[in-house]
Structures are given as structure tokens and as C-alpha cells.
């Protein structure tokens, strides 16, 4: 069948962006292939691994299973927007300090989910962390250091992103 395309006007990381996309293109296709935002990773591409997690209107969503044409006027935030200029965000610094990345492929997805979690529950405990991060898979760390990193950013530890 013929390819159906349309011009999409998106808001990505606070900027208006215009792209020509197929009806069937996912948000991940557009972010990576057209906008050059390769921080969001293509892992399983089936919604299992969470490597492609972005935020849409502040809520974590799987970019690999979201049609770009369905995003509309909602605000898309990718991992590239986490850092403040040249400085890594406290969350990213915590990730490095705790050794929560090994190969690093899952890290962007974890960061985007964690960023939301710490806004919603700045005092979250480890059980709440596990539940919130249950859609993000890591094949290197065994998760302990990831939870350590999140814990460093809870309000009680003084590095909560929402209060930066």
C-alpha cells in the first residue's frame, strides 16, 4: 500500500519542532531518526525494556509504542533535557556516583522514570522505587545500585530533582 505521511508539529524539550512523518512512525522513530535525539534508546522496541522512556506532559511513556501522530500538542521531554547547560542534573550525578550504569543502555529510560517518581514521591522508599521502575529493565547492574542512586535523590538525602 502507499505510504501515508503528514507534517507533525511537536513540542520537544520546550522547543517547537516540525517533521514530516509516516502515519505509522512512532515517537521514538521521530526523536531518533529525524530530530537526532538519540538519548532515548531503541531496545526491545516492544515496550518491555523501557529504554525508550520519555515524558509526555511530565508522565513517563514508552516512545516505541506511541505513534508520533498521536502526540499532538503535548509536551515531550527526553533525557537530553535533564541536564542543565553543561551541568549534569543531580539525578545523573547520583547515577554516576552510585555506579548505577554499566553498559548504560538502559540509563536514559531509568532516568526519565525516576525523574517523574521523585517529583511524585520525593520521599519514596525502596519498595515504591521497585514498583515504579518495574517497567525498566537492566541486564548489568542487578538493580541494587540503581536503587541506591534513586535513594541518593530522595528528599531526605537532599538532592531531590524537584527541589534543585
Amino acid at each position: 500500500m502507499s505510504t501515508s505521511r503528514r507534517i507533525l508539529r511537536l513540542r520537544v524539550n520546550g522547543q517547537p519542532r516540525e517533521v514530516l512523518a509516516r502515519d505509522a512512525d512512532t515517537l521514538l522513530d521521530v526523536l531518533r531518526e529525524q530530530l537526532g535525539l538519540t538519548g532515548s534508546k531503541r531496545g526491545c522496541d516492544l515496550g518491555t525494556c523501557g529504554c525508550c522512556t520519555v515524558q509526555i506532559d511530565g508522565e513517563p511513556q514508552l516512545a516505541c509504542l506511541t505513534l508520533a501522530a498521536e502526540v499532538g500538542e503535548r509536551e515531550v521531554t527526553t533525557v537530553e533535557a535533564l541536564r542543565d547547560g553543561e551541568e549534569f542534573a543531580p539525578l545523573q550525578q547520583a547515577w554516576a556516583a552510585a555506579g548505577a550504569s554499566q553498559c548504560g543502555f538502559c540509563t536514559p529510560g531509568f532516568l526519565m522514570t525516576t525523574d517523574w517518581l521523585l517529583r511524585e514521591k520525593p520521599d519514596c522508599n525502596r519498595e515504591q522505587m521497585r514498583e515504579a521502575l518495574a517497567g525498566n529493565l537492566c541486564r548489568c547492574t542487578g538493580y541494587v545500585k540503581i536503587l541506591d542512586a534513586v535513594e541518593r535523590c530522595t528528599r531526605s538525602q537532599g538532592a531531590c530533582p524537584s527541589e534543585k
Binding site: 505510504t3 514508552l62 518495574a134
Partner: protein, 343 residues
């Protein structure tokens, strides 16, 4: 993986959605001859099932009709749950937690939190059936030529099933809603009709609905007025504590005799993942009715259910284990309904 081409329709109203479906199911010559209900289009809820299948080149359609923008599917009306509500909303809605606690807790058992943010009630009820030989890449299937539900003319699960597909229905919400006595509200070109969910599913792994009509879609699930009087519980068997589809699932709904809590006045038992549709088990209901719920009764009901289910060799766990676990799931679900249980 790129999603194969399709034309995306984005209706804003129910009527626009139905019109889009009618146009998509018309034959290319423009005649109005009826075609198979799902020949030309797919409805798109959250996309967490459909887009995965499309990426694997499974049964893709030329037109996809997205339902996210259809206003009538997004908000509940009294006594009913809109089909477009996400599972995330269902599990976190204080009203649903209070009135239908088993529905909220079961929604939280589906897949992962990230999937649940997109997946919808209507989408979960219409989850496509699953099988080792179906949910595979196009290359894998081409090498094996082994799935009736995809491109092949033979089945690897049963040596000679005729044209019957034994793929398993793996939705978690359907058995729970059946245990509550819920009713599907459908809307199509001929107007609206209501079908009890217990009668909605019928057929095999390919033809899964009793009376699916062209261009018809589920608008809402109506909860009966007495739903809150039922004690409902659901137990799920799966490999991991996140993401996995059920390998077996048992939902139990019980009503106590008036003034006699613990004595079963009425019961509903439904299972998922054991067949191509959610199954009702009147034999177990008959055993339970009028009886005092205790360990012995729960054991006997579980044993009876184990003898009734017939899982196929088409998921991760062995059929014999899944069948044995039906007994355990049923027993635990029943005992958790007990007036003395804290759950």
C-alpha cells in the same frame, strides 16, 4: 523495527469512528457489500498489543483508527467505566479502589507500569490471543510456517486442529469483570446494544467474539448495581512479577447468604489463559453454592477446576503445571474471599 505503513484515522467522536470503520471495511471497488468485521481496519487503544504485532508483521491492516481522541470513550458515566480509560487510571482511581477493589488490584498486575500508562480497558479486553508460534517475528514464522492465525495453513500446537486456532486469551481484566457481572456496551452503525461480558467471548483463537458486528466498538463496561455486594478475587500465574502475561488466571466472585457471611449464596468463577476465550465454570459454581466456605471446600473446588481446564502447549510453562496451578489459584482466590481474610 519500523511499524509497517497504514493510514491513521483520528476521529473525535463515536460517530466519526464508526464512519471511519465503515469506510475502511468497504471493498476497494466501492461497493457496499459487507466484508469481514476486521478485514480492513484495526481499532487502536493504547497500542501496546497492536503495535507489537504490527512490528512483527502479524495481521496488519491498511487502516488504523485511533480511539484516543474519541470523547465518548474517555469519561465514565454513572455505573460504567469508559473503554478508553488507561489501566494506570483504573488502578489509581480511589473510587474504583473503594467500589471494585479487585478490578483496581488486577489492573495493577497487568504488564508493567509503563505499559499500563498507555494500555486501555477496552484494549485489554480485546487483547489478541497469544501463542508461541504466533507471537514471533516474520522471519521466525517464515522459517517455521507454523501458525493458522498468521500466514500458514497448519498448526504446530495440535497436529490436526482443522481450522480451529488454540492460541490463548491472556487478558487479566476479563475474568475479574465477569466475576463482577459486568456488561459490555457496544456501539455500531445499528446503534447501541449491551452484552454481558460472560457471553461476549466465544469461538477460537481467531474468531473470538460471539457476535462481533462490522464497525462496532466497545464504548464502556457497565458495572451492575449489586457489583459492590460481590467479594471478588483474582489470582495470576506468571514467570516474573512484572510484565508477563498470565500463564493461568482464576477470578472468583462470591455473594454471602443474607445474615450468614461465609455461606455462599451465589458464585461466579472465570479463568483466563487456559483457552482462547475466558472460560466460565458452572460445575465449580454448582459445587460452591449453598456451602460454607472453608479449607475443605476450597480444596475440592480447586481440584474440580484443575480437572476442567485444558491448557495447550503454547506458552512458556508446561500445560501440566498450568493445570495443577489452576487448583492452587482457585483455592487461594476462594480463601482470600473469606469473611475472615484480610485481603
Amino acid at each position: 523495527m519500523q511499524v509497517p505503513d497504514f493510514i491513521l484515522r483520528q476521529p473525535a467522536t463515536l460517530q466519526e469512528a464508526i464512519t471511519a470503520a465503515q469506510e475502511a471495511s468497504r471493498p476497494p471497488d466501492g461497493s457496499h457489500a459487507p466484508s469481514a468485521p476486521e478485514q480492513g481496519y484495526d481499532w487502536l487503544g493504547g497500542g501496546t498489543d497492536l503495535l507489537c504485532n504490527y512490528k512483527w508483521r502479524i495481521n496488519q491492516r491498511p487502516v488504523v483508527i485511533a480511539l484516543r481522541g474519541v470523547a465518548e470513550l474517555q469519561s465514565d458515566v454513572a455505573g460504567s467505566l469508559a473503554a478508553g480509560r488507561t489501566l494506570w487510571q483504573l488502578e489509581n482511581d480511589a473510587e474504583i479502589q473503594r467500589r471494585y477493589p479487585a478490578l483496581a488490584s488486577t489492573a495493577a498486575l497487568v504488564a508493567s507500569p509503563l505499559i499500563r500508562r498507555s494500555a486501555t480497558l477496552g484494549g485489554n479486553l480485546h487483547l489478541d490471543t497469544r501463542c508461541w508460534h504466533f507471537n514471533q517475528t516474520a522471519e521466525w514464522r517464515a522459517a517455521h510456517r507454523s501458525c493458522l492465525k498468521a500466514e500458514a495453513d497448519q498448526c504446530r500446537v495440535l497436529p490436526d486442529p482443522g481450522d480451529v486456532c488454540v492460541a490463548a486469551y491472556c487478558g487479566d481484566l476479563a475474568p475479574v469483570l465477569i466475576a463482577y457481572g459486568a456488561v459490555a456496551r457496544l456501539h455500531g452503525p445499528d446503534g447501541e446494544r449491551r452484552v454481558p461480558l460472560a457471553e461476549y467471548f466465544a469461538g477460537d483463537g481467531i474468531r473470538r467474539f460471539a457476535e462481533r458486528r462490522r464497525a462496532e466498538l466497545m464504548v464502556a463496561v457497565e458495572m451492575p448495581a449489586d457489583a459492590e455486594d460481590w467479594r471478588v478475587n483474582y489470582r495470576k500465574l506468571r514467570l516474573r512479577q512484572t510484565f508477563d502475561f498470565p500463564e493461568g488466571g482464576v477470578a472468583v466472585g462470591l455473594q454471602w447468604e443474607s445474615g450468614n457471611p461465609g455461606v455462599i449464596a451465589a458464585a461466579r468463577i472465570a479463568t483466563t489463559a487456559y483457552a482462547s476465550v475466558p472460560l466460565l465454570h458452572p460445575e465449580v459454581v454448582e459445587l460452591l453454592q449453598g456451602q460454607l466456605l472453608d479449607q475443605d471446600l476450597a480444596d475440592r473446588a480447586g481440584a474440580l477446576l484443575e480437572s476442567l481446564v485444558q491448557p495447550m502447549k503454547n506458552t512458556s510453562m508446561s500445560p501440566s503445571y498450568r493445570r495443577k496451578m489452576a487448583r492452587v489459584l482457585c483455592r487461594r482466590a476462594l480463601l482470600d474471599c473469606s469473611p475472615h481474610s484480610s485481603s
